[in-house]
Amino acid sequence: MNQALDSKTLEDSLLIVKQQITLMRKCLESKNPQFMDALKHASTFLSELRTNKLSPKLYYELYVLVFDGLAYLSDFLKESHQTNHLADLYELVQYAGNIVPRLYLMITIGSVYMSIENAPKLEIMKDMLEMSAGVQDPIRGLFLRYYLSQKTKELLPTETESELKETIQFTITNFIEMNKLWVRLKHQGHSSERERRLKERKELQILVGSNLVRISQLDQIDKFYYKESILPKVLEQIVQCKDSLAQEYLLDVIIQVFPDEFHLLTLDDFLQSTLHLSEGFSMNKILVTLINRLIDFQKREPANVKVIISELSTLTLQKDEHEENHTEESDSETTKPQTSSNLFEKFYDYSHLLVENKPELNFKDLSLILEAICKLSLSYYPQDYENINKVFGFALALIHQTTQHLEIWEPLLKTPICYNFDPKLVLSLDDNYKQFASALPTAIQSANALYILEKFLEQDVRLSTVEEVKTLYELLAVWFTSEDSSDSNTNSLLFGTDSSKNEPDESPEVVSQYEALAKSIHLIHHTNPYKHFELLEIAKSFMSKSGSRVRYTYPTLLFAVIKLIRKLTIVQKLNALKLKQFCQFFSATNTELLTLVSNGTLQSEGGVLAQTCMNLNLSMALILDQSSHIDLSYEFFINSFVIYEESIVDSRLQFQCLLSIIGTLHKCRNIVNGNEDNFDALISKTALYGSKLLKKTDQCRAVYLASHLWWIIEELDEEDEIESETAKTSEDELQVVIKTDNKKVLECLQKSLRIADSCLETNVSLELFVEILSRSLYFFIHGNELITIKYLNGLIELIQNSILTIGEENTSIDTPTKHFQRTLEYIRQQAQIDSRFEEIKDR
């Protein structure tokens, strides 16, 4: 049909209707109302509704105008019903020859009649409903019945039980008839217009749904009444109409308009009926909507839900009893399925029935349904892991039937972790879940693993049992195997030890996975450090399977051990035997890391990883020193030195590592006093390393910084009291002297001075001189007796002479000269507060 033609038809009709309404109003509004004439005008404009040339949308426009026109008539009748006996009028309009105008008039007058006291409401209702059957054209019929429902909605009697019954009967019948008409529309017209038909039907759906809305608005119905008397009839119609559009829409309306508690109570009936729906029906949409409603209900009114479920169980019991009696009598039905009040079981059993009864259902739908069931269980029975296991057991069985489009299962896989507020749930699941996961493509497994882990991290979920740690890492198993299978085999077989090929070029995904994996180690927690350690061992057993990627996770593991030792030290529960285990674990792990460096698996990264390994060793050494296990501490220092010697090749790194060694040694307290020989050996070695650095500047700086190792004084915080016997007070400062070796300090400074002097570039040596001056000032301030005024003056003189030699104007020495001047400025400032400085010469 031509659209322009359509709207022309509409306009013509609208014009006629408007004219006739005006005429009708004139008749009604005159002093002596010409009622019969008014009726004739009404009948004329109503005749426009007989058209079959309009699409539903345009017909609706016409309907709206007619509706308004009839409203005048209604109003007039309401006001003047004394003079116009409504019963007579009701009969009178039935002489109208055409059925459409006749019925509209009947309903108009009938509804006014109903509004009057003592009117035979029920009879009028029934009559109007019955007569409406005369309009069998879908569109005209739908609108007529919609008119019936609109005009009567406020008037339907509900006072007595029987009235209520009639009212519901009335509405349901009208609903059923409308639905039939609506479904029939599908078959109208040429098959080439099917698409258009479908669109038109969708435009009309609200008319049909309005009846259900009407029922839901009746306050008088309670959930039992709904279950007994309303839902069965409605469902019957929905099933019988065999039209997927109608089924989908109407079930959705039911779910939307009736209260959740109704749904809870009638779940069985509802589900049962959906098994009989048409093939094209998208089952998952309705079920997911329903389940989501129930979940929201539980979230919103948990107390109410509880009450209804208990009611449900008593109802079920009664029903069972009833059925038992029944079977005893007839003995025909012996295998009645046991109905349960457990919501999960209802849905779960239902999902099986679905698979049996609806073989056409696709896996995508099933996956969505199972996902929803899973959510439901998590919402209603958050502690019942067995439910989730069942779901995954079922999913596993399903997934074995297909290898196509496995990605559709991903949301289901994620549900237990995504939906539950307690991520730990996923740890309680049985093998079904893991097997299900491993049946999916690696990419999905991997993404899910990351998802699980991120959830755990996000909520800082502590893992405190062996079981938990194991299970979590088993869930992440896909990460621990993927690299091994792809990389290491090919490496050894095809490329031998060609290190350039060995360089793992990690994708960003892998990097973020392993970052998360490393973080997961922080989740492991036990109040008892020994137990904690056992958990770490388990974690390591998993991590160790990830080849060269252990570099991402091992450092975290090692720090966790360090932290445990610290804790045990503080609570004084460090068992020597156990500590040995800790240390062995640490060393072994660290060695594994180092192996990656030494066998060249990591080329460019290697040196820096070695730095990390060394620093880890240093941290361990320091912690052991703090726990007074000075021999072990010494060992770890030695290990650090070995790493330094063997694995740190880059000169920049060497310098950095040496700084770390110096810094760490400087923090040691117990080894200094407990085994001075060992300590001296360590610090001498350190100084020696310094002097062997590649670059003179590094050598010089390392040596003068190493000087601090012979000068360890601890400044006490102001609030700290002096308890130690060795504490000395020097003037007003609180200090604990750990080690002061004036001579050695001087030696270092002298040595560094020699190195500086040997620099070929004068500006560099000048800069170093200034730095050594600064360092000397440090010791001077700290009271090293060998760093005298004389010594300082000598240095200053040396620097000044150097500047003179090079020539002050030489721009190449700008920087060191300025540094020197700043140093002198500092000396001048200090002189104002410290008299000792006054003797320092400066020009």
């Binding site: 059925i99 007569m131 005369g134």
Partner: protein, 297 residues
């Protein structure tokens, strides 16, 4: 001309209680509406005849008589008139009329066997005929009465209130079942029924009920039948599907219907048929008729 033949007197027939008597409006042959007084069977017909002289001239007459006549007029092969009732009273003996005179008349408890009827080819009428005999042309004055035969049991309705049930159809095309609550109705009755669709392969557009009056007069082979559709009433819009039931309700009181008459004085019959008509999208009509028996209550 008329002046010469002008009747020198007026005759007026007045009926007792005329103003309060029930009347009926009927269409005259010329299409005008007439109001006629209604009489029942066995009712006395009573009134006055007034004769007034024009110009106060003496009028000589051969006697005045009043008749109550019942006749059946048929248009078959020319107008035939058949009187089935004839009663007469002498009002005045031949003589002169000098003054206006009023004569009373009364036909006591007249049996009026049939109902008045005006059809296409047949009329059944009752009338008062006043004849003033003259040497030249008689002066005649007629006044028609309308007779309703109430409480008349319809003829041919063997079982009172028997419902009509019918199964009709076109093979592989349409199969319907219809049912009316009964087959005899008073004229103010309402026809109630339903139509049940067992098979619908036609593209039905709508469905109507019509009431058809069939009048027949004369005797075979010269019988003349005439049908007239009195009522058309749409009872269904659109095409139903199998299993659909369409209600029927038709109020009769508002229509001009005639009770069923069979062989009135062996001259004519009027019957009414209820016709169910289905119209398909190509405007083809399918119908099924069944007779209903109407009676006056």
């Amino acid at each position: 001309m008329s002046l010469f033949f002008k009747v020198p007197l007026d005759i007026e027939v007045r009926l007792d209680g005329e103003d309060s008597r029930e009347t009926v409006e009927v269409k005259s042959a010329k299409g005008r509406k007439e109001k006629l007084p209604v009489y029942k069977d066995g009712e006395t017909v009573k009134g006055q005849v007034s004769v007034r002289l024009k110009d106060n001239k003496r009028v000589e007459h051969l006697g005045i008589k009043v008749q109550l006549l019942g006749s059946i007029e048929t248009k078959v092969d020319g107008i035939k008139n058949d009187e089935f009732l004839s009663m007469a009273h002498e009002l005045a003996s031949p003589g002169d009329l000098r003054h206006p005179e009023t004569y009373h008349f009364e036909f006591r408890n007249v049996e009026k066997q049939y109902e008045s009827y005006r059809g296409k080819n047949v009329r059944l009428r009752y009338y008062i005929k006043v004849t003033l005999g003259r040497k030249s042309a008689d002066v005649i004055r007629e006044r028609e009465l309308w007779v309703f035969q109430k409480n008349q049991l319809p003829l041919g309705a063997t079982k009172p209130d028997a419902s009509i049930k019918m199964d009709v159809g076109i093979e592989d095309c349409l199969h319907i079942e219809f049912e009316y609550s009964r087959n005899r109705f008073s004229l103010k009755d309402v026809i109630v029924g339903r139509i049940y669709f067992l098979l619908v392969r036609l593209k039905i557009k709508h469905m109507e009920l019509s009431l058809i009056r069939r009048e027949s007069c004369g005797a075979p082979p010269n019988q003349v039948n005439d049908s007239e559709t009195l009522v058309r009433f749409e009872i269904m819009d659109g095409a139903p599907v199998r299993g659909e039931t369409i209600p029927i309700r038709l109020f009769l009181g508002g229509f001009d219907l005639t009770p069923t008459y069979r062989d009135v004085n062996k001259k004519f019959s009027t019957r009414t048929f209820l016709s169910l008509v289905l119209i398909d999208e190509d405007a083809r009509r399918y119908f099924k008729q069944s007779e209903i028996f109407l009676y006056r209550e």
